[in-house]
Structures are given as structure tokens and as C-alpha cells.
Amino acid sequence: MATTYETVSGIISDTCDIEPDKITPDSHAINDLGIDSLDFLDVAFAIDKAFGIKMPLEQWTQDVNAGTVTTDEYFVLKNLCTNIDKLVAAKA
């Protein structure tokens, strides 16, 4: 069974047409991979479907805008995967 990171990096590679070897756990989806908001919509939809969750993007955006966290918390892939795992665990 694929790990969360393998699934997420595969989604990003397929959805955003990024070479798999350019994606690492430390990649920042926006700053390093150049994913814009429209592409991220595709990524979010694919992640929501793949894991059966609803990523709270609005809340995350509010957190970043409020300065309580940096974008690294949600957009660095290893952190994104940790957050996905938490959402999956919360659903179970």
C-alpha cells in the first residue's frame, strides 16, 4: 500500500505535470514546485478523493493570514502529509 507521501507526490506529479524526481518531502508546493492556486484546486480535489477527507483549506488560509503558522506548515509536502494523516485518523 502506498504511503501518504507516495500518493500525494504522485497526485502532484500527475496533476501538475511535474517530473517525479523534482518532488521531495521537503518541497514547498508553491515556492519550490510552482503550483498556483488553480493547480492546487486539482491537487486538493484529488487528495480529498484519494483519502476520503475534506482538507480544511479555508481554515489553513486563515491560519496563514493570521500569522499563527507559516505556509510551510501546510505546503511543505512532508507537513502536508502529516496533516492528511491527522485528517484520516480523525475520520476513522
Binding site: 484546486l41 486539482d42 480535489f45 482538507m55 483549506l57 479555508e58
Partner: protein, 157 residues
Amino acid sequence: MRLEYFQMVDRITALDLPGGRIVTACQVPEQSPVFEGHFPGYPILPGVLMIETMAQTGGWLVLATLGRTKMPFLMQVEKAKMRSFVAPGQAMEVEARLLHEGSGYAVVKASITVAGKKVSDAELRFGVVPFPNETLKAAMLETARRVGLPEDLLHAE
């Protein structure tokens, strides 16, 4: 429909929020300046207006699903197919089904049927955001009344 005012939906004829489905009636007008250019001597409804009609139908479904608290804006059109021409005077039935309601976005699958035959379909994605101003919010409420959004949703906030 009043094409030149982008009033595509005449009436919501079915709305099933638990089932994530809406159906609207959209009567293509006999006359419109749009047909003078599209096309001279051979008037047909532009494909982009079919997409807009599906987007507005899907938009009402999303807006109703969220209790009219937020405004859906079309962000992405996937797999749009225009299968047949639609002529002035034809009645369209437009259906949209909610595929996914995410956080800040929504995805619907929509189709247009004329006389029992599917003429167009597409997957549409919306960004869903708070109303940007009171003018738009009021206009959407007025339009909601015109198209027959159920009464309980007119009062939801």
C-alpha cells in the same frame, strides 16, 4: 433566458440537497443579438453559453448546498462536450450533480438535455468564497427569488 444579460436559468424545477442534484429549465429565446453573429443565416446557441448555463445551474446547487452563505465562482471547466447544436426557441433541461464539496471549492458534473437528448456536458469546478460585497449578495437574493429557489433557502444566511 436573456442571453445578453447572462440570465441563463429561467427556473429551478428540482432541487434535492441531500442527493446533491438540481434541475433547471432554460428556454432559448427566438430572438437575440447573440444570434446575429453566431451565426449569420444559421443561428445556434454558442457553446460557451451552454457552459455558462451549466455553470449557473451548478452554481445554484452549490449556493443552495451552502445555505446561500457563500458565492461560487467558476474556476475550471473539464471535459466540456458540445454534442449537438441548440437552436433559437428550443427548451433546455439542465442538470447538475455535486461530485464533491471541498473546503473553499466545489465540483459538479452538469449536462444539458433538449427533447430527451443530451446535447452538452462538462465537469465544472468552483471557487467558493464569501460574497465580495452587499450589492452582489442582494442581487443573488433577488435572482434566487426569480428562479424559484425554495423559500427556506431565501431566508437562510
